[in-house]
């Protein structure tokens, strides 16, 4: 299994074969505070890379979610409907958002963990 990759907009993506799991990073959930609602698309929808695919709403803010890769949504984390706080408690596990069938290759602009940590630190949120 590949390692987790990250975007500048604080999403993560983990590829297993052609299926990518997408979520928001630990840094993002900490900045947002308690997540109270997620507006996520339905399975079957095609995503373009960089497209805004949903909204994460916390007690502090409502932020757009951007697709780190292009592909077709295979599954949406149904548990988040009644337990949005999973995004806070387990952002890389139970708090995943989407599973997407990757179209083409993994984009080259995704960061590894070290690069992301540096970028997130520098963004000075």
């Amino acid at each position: 299994m590949a390692e987790r990759r990250y975007t500048k907009t604080h999403e993560w993506v983990l590829l297993d074969g052609k299926t990518a799991t997408i979520g928001i990073t630990d840094f993002a959930q900490a900045q947002l505070g308690d997540v109270v609602f997620l507006d996520l698309p339905s399975p079957g929808r095609k995503l373009a890379k960089g497209e805004s695919f949903g909204v994460v709403e916390s007690v502090k803010a409502a932020s757009d979610l951007y697709a780190p890769i292009a592909g077709t949504i295979a599954a949406v984390n149904e548990k988040l409907g009644s337990n949005p706080e999973l995004v806070n408690s387990d952002p890389y596990g139970e708090g995943w958002l989407l599973k997407v069938e990757l179209a083409g290759d993994l984009p080259g602009d995704l960061m590894d963990e070290a690069q992301y940590k540096e970028a997130a630190g520098a963004s000075g949120h």
Binding site: D39, P41, R45, S52, V55, A61, A62
Partner: protein, 430 residues
């Protein structure tokens, strides 16, 4: 001193920053043919002269007494209890501004919360907002909710929905890439089926059937309803509509030349994030005292910007307050009485009108509440004759629907007493 916020110097600085020479340069996109060189306004008048002028204009209005008005078509004469104005006239409430700051007073927030509660109960829906402008914009806002919710772009208008509501819906749709189609067969592109119950002609539609058909096609069902009718017929929540909207004028507001009135919108719980406008919730403060707060504001334009479902941030609070007072004052039994007496008078009138030579009901097999369509020979002359006798007859709906030439809808409410109905029938029999 003229009240101008910017000095000449301020303006010059701003123009320089924009890189233009004069204010005129900012207007070059407006074709000269559309511009007015000079406003030809008369000199100012004293208050006394102004009042005389205004009275002169007002006297040119032809005012028909409520009891001799048999025209509805979306706006209705109803009895308004004095309690309504007694509350809306209180200075704490009486302001032109909609209170939408988070720090709005608890009394104001509670009044809005009461309105939401009353509308949610009346429509049997989970949640209602603080109100919208009118029935027409409520239909358009509901359609935009459906579009965002389903990701589809077609709004299907089924049956005789108020033509002016459809016009407003078309205006909202333009530029949003939403298409409005007439018909009753939804397809996979249909975001919502919009129907009116009772319809624009006053006839009852198969609301449950239309709702089920919408759902079978993966579309939402938007029911545009008459609030008074909900006292005696099934509310939208009962037949599974996703969004209930309507015009609230009948709830304690006078016709007033068509506005301001109040629109209402209510939806099921799973659509609440798409609901436009203000939403007030009930909560508790740190000492456990009940309080009222702006709720789910993250839906709204000031946070979601261009991604918000709607750009509506305001509402018709004072009109909504009038509606709240009306509903509270009338109560469940009072509303039912109003709906019931309107129903009985309209049915008695329909029977009598049907006996006039050449007059017949349009769609006699269909049911109605307090408004109904009649085929009236030479309708234009008939209505004019009534008007000369001081009676405002029905509404000629042929001006919107070509297939309904010489069709006139008549309305009765509690203000059309039996003597007034006799007077109408006599005037038509003469």
């Amino acid at each position: 001193m003229p009240y101008l916020v910017h000095t000449e110097h301020d303006r010059e600085e701003m123009l320089a920053a924009l890189g233009v020479e004069s204010m005129e340069d900012l207007l070059i996109d407006i074709p000269t043919s559309l511009r007015v060189d000079r406003l030809n306004l008369p000199d100012g008048l004293s208050e006394l002269e102004t009042m005389a002028e205004m009275h002169g204009l007002a006297d040119r209005n032809r005012v028909f007494p409520d009891r001799l008005t048999f025209r509805g078509g979306g706006v209705y004469r109803r009895f308004i209890p004095t309690a309504v104005a007694a509350v809306t006239g209180k200075p704490e409430f009486y302001t032109a501004y909609t209170p939408y700051q988070p720090e709005a007073s608890q009394g104001t927030l509670q009044a809005i919360f009461e309105f939401q509660t009353l509308i949610a109960e009346l429509t049997a829906m989970d949640v209602a907002n603080a109100s919208l402008y009118d029935g027409a914009t409520a239909v358009a806002e509901a359609s935009m909710m459906a579009r965002v919710q389903t990701g589809r772009d077609e709004i299907l208008v089924a049956g005789y929905v108020h033509p002016e509501y459809v016009e407003v819906l078309r205006t909202f749709s333009e530029g949003r890439g939403m298409k409005v189609r007439r018909g009753d067969e939804p397809n996979p592109r249909t975001a919502a089926v919009v129907f009116q119950q009772p319809d624009f002609l006053g006839l009852l539609v198969d609301a449950r059937g239309l709702t089920e058909r919408a759902h079978a096609a993966g579309a939402l069902a938007i029911a545009c309803v008459d609030p008074i009718s909900l006292a005696i017929i099934a509310p939208p929540g009962e037949y599974g509509a996703d969004i209930a909207v309507g015009e609230g004028q009948q709830l304690g507001l006078s016709p007033s030349f068509g506005g301001p009135h109040v629109g209402f919108i209510a939806c099921s719980k799973d659509l609440v994030r798409r609901l436009p406008g203000r939403l007030i919730g009930s909560s508790h403060d740190s000492l456990g005292r009940r309080g009222f707060v702006l709720t789910l504001t993250a839906r709204e334009q000031h946070i979601r910007r261009e991604k918000a479902t709607s750009n509506i941030c305001t509402n018709h609070s004072l009109c909504a307050l009038a509606a709240s007072v009306y509903m509270t004052y009338m109560g469940e039994a009072g509303l039912r009485d109003v709906a019931d007496v309107s129903f009985r008078r309209a049915h008695s009138l329909a029977e009598r009108l049907g006996k006039l030579p050449g007059w017949q009901p349009l769609f006699p097999e269909r049911q109605f509440l307090n408004e109904f369509p009649m085929i009236v020979p030479k309708s234009r002359q008939v209505m004019r004759r009534l008007s000369r006798k001081g009676i405002l007859g029905g509404l000629e709906v042929g001006r919107w629907f070509r297939e309904l030439k010489d069709v006139v809808t008549f309305t009765c409410t509690e203000v059309n007493d039996p003597a007034a109905i006799d007077q109408l029938v006599e005037a038509l029999s003469a």
